[in-house]
Point group: C3
Chain length 216, copies 3
Amino acid sequence: MSTEAPALLLALDLAGVFAFAVNGALTALRVARLDIVGVVTLGMITALGGGILRDILIDDLPPATFSDWRYLAVAAGGGLIAFAAAHRLDRLSTPITVLDAAGLSLFAVTGASKALDFGLGPAQAVILGAVTGVGGGTLRDVLVRQVPTVLSSGLYAVPALVAATVVAVAVELDAYGPPVAIGAAAACFAIRMLGVHFDLNAPSPPSPRPRPPDTD
Amino acid sequence: MSTEAPALLLALDLAGVFAFAVNGALTALRVARLDIVGVVTLGMITALGGGILRDILIDDLPPATFSDWRYLAVAAGGGLIAFAAAHRLDRLSTPITVLDAAGLSLFAVTGASKALDFGLGPAQAVILGAVTGVGGGTLRDVLVRQVPTVLSSGLYAVPALVAATVVAVAVELDAYGPPVAIGAAAACFAIRMLGVHFDLNAPSPPSPRPRPPDTD
Amino acid sequence: MSTEAPALLLALDLAGVFAFAVNGALTALRVARLDIVGVVTLGMITALGGGILRDILIDDLPPATFSDWRYLAVAAGGGLIAFAAAHRLDRLSTPITVLDAAGLSLFAVTGASKALDFGLGPAQAVILGAVTGVGGGTLRDVLVRQVPTVLSSGLYAVPALVAATVVAVAVELDAYGPPVAIGAAAACFAIRMLGVHFDLNAPSPPSPRPRPPDTD
């Protein structure tokens, strides 16, 4: 790990935490009129879920969330800001989507980067980057009883895999640093937003006939 | 850790396991007419989920559940007792609520206490206490497809945070022991039950206008 | 651990991964017309969830999934094969049920076996075998918003417990090897399929009167 990597990882991680905290809190306001505790709680779970999952899987326990107070502070702060600012927003869906894409992108990069730091192979790091990116949002969706975006939207896991792959390749080539990390996150963000804008999806099953629920 | 702390931790932990096991089993009977295996399974998940989550996060693995048979025995016993006794109860909602508050209170104390034993800072221990308290019930609610109480009820996470804070402060002041632990759990229980009784909630969002679901 | 145990464990584990990957992918096609990414993602989560849960709980981190590429490859391959082959199947419910029973049986055996290898006691290994067996399917059901089979179907956890018990007893008697492992999995599979076929369940609550949802 280069000497600048920890600071870079921390900065990107905290940016992702903030984006997901605001996103989770706005989601709580949108799908249910939760009170401030519920709003901040969902914001914190969304913000910290992906990173905690990553840290459990690479055995970096207690997770950074619990050993570095900045994660908790940024997550709680993001949730509170969203709670206070939500009434100024005419529509919540656009910021929710944009912030979700931002968190996804940042966490895909930090997840892959941290996995490589901990000695996992490139393929494993790519998967772990995607898991980190989609983890918090998946927990959020399960808790508010929505089908997780990672299942329903084709271009959600894919951009995360792209960003994580860029990181893994750059580390292999010894070219990893802030420009690559930010570029990888930006690429993920761009793909995700294009997918949302044009409602793109990955290929559907070969059989076009509607499949009614079977009866067992 | 004082010499009596492990015994105290174990006693409170097992009491919490029992309360949540009965609670989870009664919930299984209430929300769906599950058979004995489903009832005991939901009881055990509710009872053991919070502690397992805590032990994963502080890296005390395998969790106590798997290294100390008493956890499994108490969880399974609580589920079986609930299954056998449920038909004697006219209404299940009151015992479900009371037992949930008891488990929440006991686990908030043991979660914070164990986190401090493992060297986490006070703020982290407070959050981990709350996570331990709400974890099992949140798993329970997700499995039976309810919005988790921690999101929908303002005075659920708050009393857990209060109890965990009392524990953290007492440990800082070197005043932690059975009276403080039981007092903290009792305070959490009282706040929670008052919240249920008077239907209190934390503040709602500033904007009072109803927010229809956005269309993306 | 005997010298052949690791190879046996790996073979059974990968067979279970494949069965659950196809099962999860077919479930994704059945309950919602997900695109290829959603289908493969649900297949991989179903396939790898139980083993990851097991490895977290026995502290074998990073989980085999992330340190051995074969798990990822088999899980992804199973999902892709299911995606490609689904349109040839008239009904999805039969293969979904059979593959779920196969994954359950194989993972119950590998979960108990690996737990014993890591020094857990027999009772703990039995529970961990059941957790490994039902874990992936429970994640799958939560993500597609179904009540998990482990709660709704009595003969789901029970055969997993039977298979894990056979493994634990055989290890105690120093008689564990491929014949016992395959026999235990076959017994679990047979019990589960008989339960499905005859719609058997464990005993229901003593009180036969319908229990309307309480109003709090």
